[in-house]
């Protein structure tokens, strides 16, 4: 599956995207693994006490997981996941 990182998260991962080969059945599994891999600079924006952090945006194939099954949203080998820290503009 492909994972893309944006804004501040790129400072933590030092990459824009990667092909993730470790198994992840759902979004929870993937994000937990990513938080372990990239540590606190990544995790603090993404997960809080086992739940999604307040303003993080996680998309699976372009759809916000909060409109799907949240952290239980299932993933496939072909899934494209995009993770955004809190953002603004206008």
């Amino acid at each position: 599956m492909k994972v893309q990182y944006f804004a501040l998260l790129r400072n933590a991962t030092h990459k824009r995207e990667e092909t993730w080969t470790r198994p992840a059945a759902d979004v929870r599994g993937l994000l937990t693994d990513l938080c372990t891999t990239y540590g606190e600079p990544f995790a603090k924006w993404v997960m809080e006490n086992g739940e999604l952090a307040k303003f993080v945006v996680v998309l699976v194939d372009g759809h916000d997981v909060r409109s799907l099954a949240g952290l239980d949203t299932p993933l496939a080998d072909t899934s494209e996941i995009a993770v955004f820290p809190p953002l603004a503009g206008g």
Binding site: Q4, F6, A7, L8, R10, R16, W45, K54, F55, V57, L59, D61, G62, H63, D64, R66, S67, A82, F84, P85, P86, L87, A88, G89, G90
Partner: protein, 601 residues
């Protein structure tokens, strides 16, 4: 008065007569200031059927009660007039320091009437007001004009001026202050040009009086803390600026690409805020009393598009970038600089070029019409040249300067203009995001994102996440955002304070500042009153429910690709509920009951 200065400056540009009027405290409380107060004055004094570029139109500059105080990120002002691009009431909001300086000079409102006999500028130094010749400034760009005025008025004067675009009555000409901040939309700069007014320079030595100093200081400390602690206002905007939005809109399939033909652009990342931070960004910039600093001080080093200035913001980068199928950030940044230098609205400019590109691509126009410009998708050089020609009023730029609706209509294809009420829709796809489409269709100045910014809940999840594809609840959400924004715009506060603050927070600062009782409900009610007054004005100017619409592409052409493939905008099915929520008739007119409730009848 506290908060307000209590004085209105009225200048008859034709005779040069200057008069001073007292600001009615009841009007100040009911309309707050800036956008609201300016609109009320337009309602009272100007026939909505006036020709916007005639001397009978008025041009109003007004800061808000917060402007010039240390309320955090709250030093803004509005320019209010009848907009030549749309024919609607137009209030264009800008940051920088100009608004604060008007307060320091002792003014809540400056009303410009009539037309000067020859190019002129207004010099306001506290109570001393002079109309001076601008013969030596006419034709000069914004930075040159500004610096010449610093030299001949005061080194620390603040200057709001037009560039060649406003002089040539480009229908989307902007008024620029501090060179890089724009009262950008709806052609307020053309109104200024039509009055032969090149600039206003102002310097003030007074201060804003505060009713309860300790109370106000405490309220401001609290709101500053809330803004700083919010992850968006506190960190993200300063690091990446608004352009950071490119990638998230692209990822959800809501980044209008190629004149809104679709919602995703393969190389969008190249023009996003992350790329801008890595390449052109020199330093963040902030306005008067700002604690966020979303502004981008930037520089392009490549010789082809060399320049320096501020921006681009998200909607500007979008307009010159993905909307034109362009991914060259240097070119996009250069186009933004040219707009600032010549005084042009970046959103309408980019979208108008995108419309011309689609017509060129389809063979509706060719190099004969464009006078040699190869306006093909992705042709960055042609895009940058098109901007310059428009600002200078030369060649095909003369036609581009009419905006996309008149341009496309000229060639028999108004449906290719991505506008609502003839103003170009900014960088969010109505087919992918239902609420923003409803805001575009109902906004009192046409295609405008910022005054009903439901992108925040629909895409960003701030303050909470709502489903962007749902229509349920969207009419009420859009109306709420529109009302709150109208009040905030009238107070002098920047909309980015909404990352952290709610209506109760603005009321909590207004009360000790003004010495009046203010609640969240009252603040919101002012906003609703202002929205309805704008609507009344537009109704009188001939706008009807038929004008609360989006281009047919949005409602009839399903999104061809991306995560929102197959979607259309469902604005028509949301409209009856929007009117009902607003307390309007099915024909979209405020009812007598609603007007009585808002003390507008």
């Amino acid at each position: 008065m506290n908060g307000w200065m209590g004085k209105i400056l009225r200048v008859d540009l034709g005779s040069g007569k200057v008069s001073v009027e007292r600001l009615d405290p009841k009007l100040a409380h009911d309309y707050i200031g800036a956008r609201g107060l300016g609109t009320k004055i337009m309602w009272d004094e100007v026939d909505p059927n006036v020709d916007p570029l005639s001397p009978a139109n008025k041009l109003i500059f007004a800061p808000g009660p917060f402007s010039g105080t240390f309320a955090p990120s709250a030093g803004r002002y509005d320019v209010v007039t009848k907009g030549p691009l749309t024919g609607t009431i137009a209030a264009s909001n800008s940051g920088g320091s100009f608004g604060a300086e008007l307060k320091f000079a002792g003014w809540d409102v400056v009303i410009l009437e009539g037309k000067a006999a020859a190019p002129s500028y207004l010099w306001i130094a506290d109570d001393k007001v002079e109309l001076r010749s601008a013969a030596h400034l006419w034709g000069k760009d914004v930075p040159t004009t500004t610096e010449m005025l610093y030299a001949e008025t005061a080194e620390d004067a603040k200057v709001a001026c037009i560039g060649p675009a406003g002089e040539k009555l480009v229908l989307f000409a902007a008024i620029m202050n501090e060179m890089q901040r724009a009262a950008g939309r709806t052609g307020v700069g053309a109104v200024m040009g039509s009055k032969n007014l090149k600039a206003i320079a102002v310097r003030g030595t007074k201060g804003v009086r505060v009713a309860d100093k300790d109370g106000f200081a405490a309220a401001c400390a609290e709101t500053s803390r809330k803004i700083k602690e919010h992850p968006v206002g506190g960190t993200g905007l300063r690091l990446y600026g608004t352009d950071v939005l490119v990638n998230i809109l692209n990822s959800v399939g809501g980044l209008p690409t190629g004149n809104f033909r679709t919602g995703q652009f393969a190389t969008a990342d190249k023009v996003g805020g992350e790329s801008l931070a890595a390449r052109e960004l020199q330093r963040p910039r902030g306005c008067f009393a700002c604690i966020i600093s979303c502004g981008r001080g930037t520089k392009v080093l490549s010789p082809k598009y060399a320049g320096a200035g501020e921006g681009p913001e998200y909607e500007s980068a979008w307009g010159f970038g993905p909307d034109c199928n362009i991914d060259d950030l240097d070119a996009v940044t250069k186009a933004n600089y040219i707009c600032n230098e010549l005084g042009l609205d970046t959103i309408t400019m980019g979208s108008t070029i995108a419309c011309a590109i689609e017509m060129f691509d389809r063979g509706i126009i060719g190099t004969a019409e464009t006078e040699g410009l190869e306006l093909l998708p992705g042709n960055a050089e042609a895009m940058v040249e098109a901007v310059r020609l428009t600002g200078m009023g030369e060649g095909f730029g003369k036609k581009l300067g009419l905006g996309s609706w008149r341009l496309a209509s000229m060639y028999g294809h108004p449906e290719l203009s991505m506008t609502a009420k003839k103003q170009e829709m900014p960088a969010y796809e109505p087919r992918a995001i239902q609420g923003i489409g409803l805001n575009y269709a109902t906004n009192n100045r046409g295609g405008c994102h910022v005054r009903g910014y439901t992108i925040s809940p629909e895409v960003l999840g701030v303050p909470m996440k709502v489903d962007k594809d749902a229509t349920e609840g969207k009419p009420a959400l859009v109306a709420l955002f529109q009302n709150l924004t109208a009040a905030i715009d009238s107070s002098g506060a920047c909309l980015f304070t909404t990352f952290g603050l709610g209506a109760e927070d603005y009321a909590a600062m207004l009360a000790p500042l003004t010495g009046e009782a203010w609640t969240a409900e009252e603040f919101l009610k002012c906003g609703e009153r202002i929205w309805n007054l704008e609507r009344l004005w537009n109704n009188r100017a001939g706008f009807t429910a038929a004008d609360d619409a989006l281009p047919p592409r949005m409602t009839q052409e399903p999104m061809p690709s991306g995560p929102s493939k197959g979607a259309v905008s469902r604005v028509p099915e949301m409209m009856p509920e929007y009117y009902a929520v607003r307390g309007w008739s099915p024909a979209g007119e405020p009812t007598t009951e609603k007007l009585r409730e808002l003390e507008l009848a």
